[in-house]
Amino acid sequence: MSPVTFRSVRDLPPMSRSTDTMLWNRTGSWRFLRPRYQDKVAPCAEGCPAAEDIARIQILLGQGDFEAAWLRIREENPLPGVCGRVCYHPCETACNRGEYDDPVTVNSLERFLADHAWKLGLSPPPPEPAAGGGRVAVVGAGPAGLTAAYFLLRLGHEVDLFDAREEPGGLLRYGIPEYRLPLDALAWEVGLILNEGVRFHGNRRLGSDLTWDELSGYDAVFLAVGTWKPAPLGAEGEEHAQDGLTLLEAIRQGETPEVSGKVAVIGGGNTAMDVARSLLRLGAEPAVYYRRRLQDMPALPEEIQEAREEGIPFQTLLAPKRIEPLPQGGFRLVLTTMEILDEDEGGRPRAVPSGHPDVEVEVDAVVTAIGAGPSQGAPAEVTGEGLVAEGLHLKRIAPEGEWAARPPVLVGGDLVNDRKAVVTAIASGKEAALVIDTRLRGRDATSIWPSIRVGRKGGVSMNRYLSGDRAAQQDHVVRYDELNTIYFRFQERRERPRITLEERRTGFDEVKMRISASLALKESERCFHCGQCDQCDNCYLFCPDVSVLRDLRAGTREINYDYCKGCGVCVVECPRNAMILEEEPR
């Protein structure tokens, strides 16, 4: 495209008429600022301990590519079907949409994708063989152990997964009730992990059926046996109380525990909710007693709300003092009346006796659910002093004394996590796999760590560790005020439907129903896709210089720097801050 030239007057047309386009004029030379596509980190991805690339997952879901969206989750988390049911969804708390109307229901969409894959019997592509791996023992087949096994195998290691119980799943299998996490959904997802080649060994309890001598034969050990040991209640006559987790396990084993009549459930965490709601379904009359207030309960707000909807009474500011057996059977539970001080006590307000008279109730049984200690068989070192920090959700037993001669032992899951949750356990498992892989391949984990962390506060990304497309993401977390919200409109958050109260009170059917594809698509539409291009085309439409090139088939956009004058309109009109305007390099 060179300028038209007229050699003589005779070449000129009789009137000044255009014969060529302006394309010879490379206006890109005017530019002193350069727009560029740049994916950034969405706050949900930073909020997720498993560092799921939620904005990209929503884009794929919105395009109807449910399988790709599901596989995208599994790059960072092998248990979307579990998390889509029981996660405390910090992603939703971080969601920018919360400042606009209500957060996107990321949690139910995650479950939708997993259920879709389950329903269609999809299976992920087999892991690619990688040479130079080692042999790793994973002790504890809960969410942390399963996740570690999944990633270790994919990173090319041989994995033996041990558990004290017969079947894998840990707390997911034996602690969380059926109405929150159906066994068949769990079994399918655990099966996907084991089918890839993880060797599972059940009924191998550490300390009795599994020795440190045997474990010393491995190149590395990941220990995630959980916290199943009941914590002491600290009340007189506490031997008369039953342990809530043991009760849940019995129910999950298919037994029908003999608990009936009025039952006092002591505690305010998710286990207390699980116990109370399970008892209700077994025909008992549970009531929850908690030493602080309703708003101080560590249980998920939706669990508390659902328990209350089901008619379970909550008695707060009451701490158990004494359990006395009654001659006619049953017990008298004496509770101290508490009050809240304006002081912090381990992240919660401090509760002290108020001086008001004690409260007495007559009950048929007392069940405790007040947190627990390391499971039987866990070495003493896991309770603090003997551990050194290794990651965000990971510790390591200090290689001192007898441990000096053993392979590195990494510790994760509820044993070490401040926030004991399924997703933090999954984060532990992933970090353990990363750390073990770096060690066995002679790489330095500490230097890799900053580059694979998603956002300043977020978890680590396996995609980034494997130099996937997320490695190109700018590690800037998009704030609400960095979005151009004019291109969004108010849309009601769609909560997932639930079965009727009557059904909930009388059976263990899953409370939250699966959502339909059309509902999932509608809800996914609400996602801002913060920091990630979803091909909305605003950059193309508003470009005064027709300098955004589109490949509609490949779904890609490119800036034509031959003509782009660098005005920056595209960057400002990008609704989701997936572009940046920077100084033109000289």
Binding site: R17, M22, T27, L541, P544, D545, Y563, K565, V572
Partner: protein
């Protein structure tokens, strides 16, 4: 919600508009709304330059570059010539700036409208004679700096209400449009070409150079003009039936004025006075829409 527009592209890169030019964006949307067969008449304005010098063009439709005051007349002539040849299909469009519409070309536009010539007249409004170096026009708003209304004595009078003038001709269709609302603009172009008689579109097209604003906010400014009700989006059919297309949030005019260099000398009292003017115009428009 993604914006949906016709995919065809009838403008080339390499044109001579300043970075962030609202008039260049407006031209893209006009061409997206026009059918395949159209001819443009462009009286003297920024686009006389933007389109490129002889022997080049930045557009894929025929263009006649014409004298400043002839927007209405040339289009009438082209229409008559096409009709004489039996071509009733080709759309004749005048694409003029605010100077060529509000001031210099007003007589020929009025004549064409009075005769109800079958043309579409589009005025892209950047609120001054930008091409010649920012001289005040009849479209320049109250309080604005231009080289002929310097900050010591900024434009004292109000922007001419061209829509009322055109409505008074009782033409079949007149509408305002903005580069910040492309779907609305394209719809209005399509509606205009579907009607017979004189159609008038008043398109808001910010000028980063003349308004003394960063080039990247030109679309954002156009949006703010709508949101503050300074430039409402509405249609007038047969000169009497008013329809307001978008009920704006009604941000204070400060939101719009404080971002622009051409207004930076304005005092609080000035802005309050301007707010009162905008409110009055909006109430009047609402009243007209109620009657219609």
């Amino acid at each position: 919600m993604p914006i949906e527009l016709p995919v065809h592209e009838r403008m080339y890169s390499g044109h001579l508009a300043c970075p962030g030019c609202g008039a260049a964006i407006a031209m893209r949307f006009l061409l997206k709304g026009l059918g395949e067969k159209a001819v443009l008449s462009i009286p003297a304005c920024c686009w006389s330059i933007i389109g490129g010098p002889f022997p080049y063009t930045a557009l894929q439709v025929p263009v006649l570059h014409t004298a400043f005051e002839t927007g209405g007349a040339v289009a009438s002539g082209i229409r008559a010539a096409l009709d004489a040849r039996g071509d009733t299909e080709t759309q004749v469009v005048t694409w003029a700036g605010d100077g060529g519409t509000f001031d210099i070309g007003l007589q020929s536009l009025s004549g064409a409208a009075e005769r109800n010539e079958n043309i579409l007249y589009v005025c892209y409004d950047n609120e001054a004679y930008m091409n010649t170096g920012v001289q005040s026009s009849g479209a320049t708003p109250t309080g604005a700096w231009t080289t002929t209304t310097p900050t010591g004595s900024p434009k004292p009078t109000r922007k001419k209400d061209i829509m009322q003038i055109m409505a008074a001709h009782r033409i079949p269709y007149a509408a305002t449009a903005s580069i910040a609302y492309p779907e609305d603009m394209v719809r209005k172009v399509q509606k205009a070409v579907s009607l017979k008689g004189t159609k008038f579109l008043h398109v808001y097209a910010p000028c980063p150079t003349g308004w003394k604003v960063p080039s990247e906010i030109s679309v954002k400014l156009a949006r703010l003009a709508v949101q503050t009700r300074i430039f409402p989006l509405y249609e007038v059919e047969e000169g009497v039936r008013y329809t307001i297309n978008l009920e704006p949030v009604g941000y204070l005019v400060d939101e719009y004025y404080r971002t622009q260099g051409r207004f930076k000398h304005l005092t609080r009292e000035d802005l309050d006075r301007i707010q009162a003017q905008v409110d009055e115009s909006w109430d009047r428009l609402k009243a007209l829409a109620r009657i219609g």
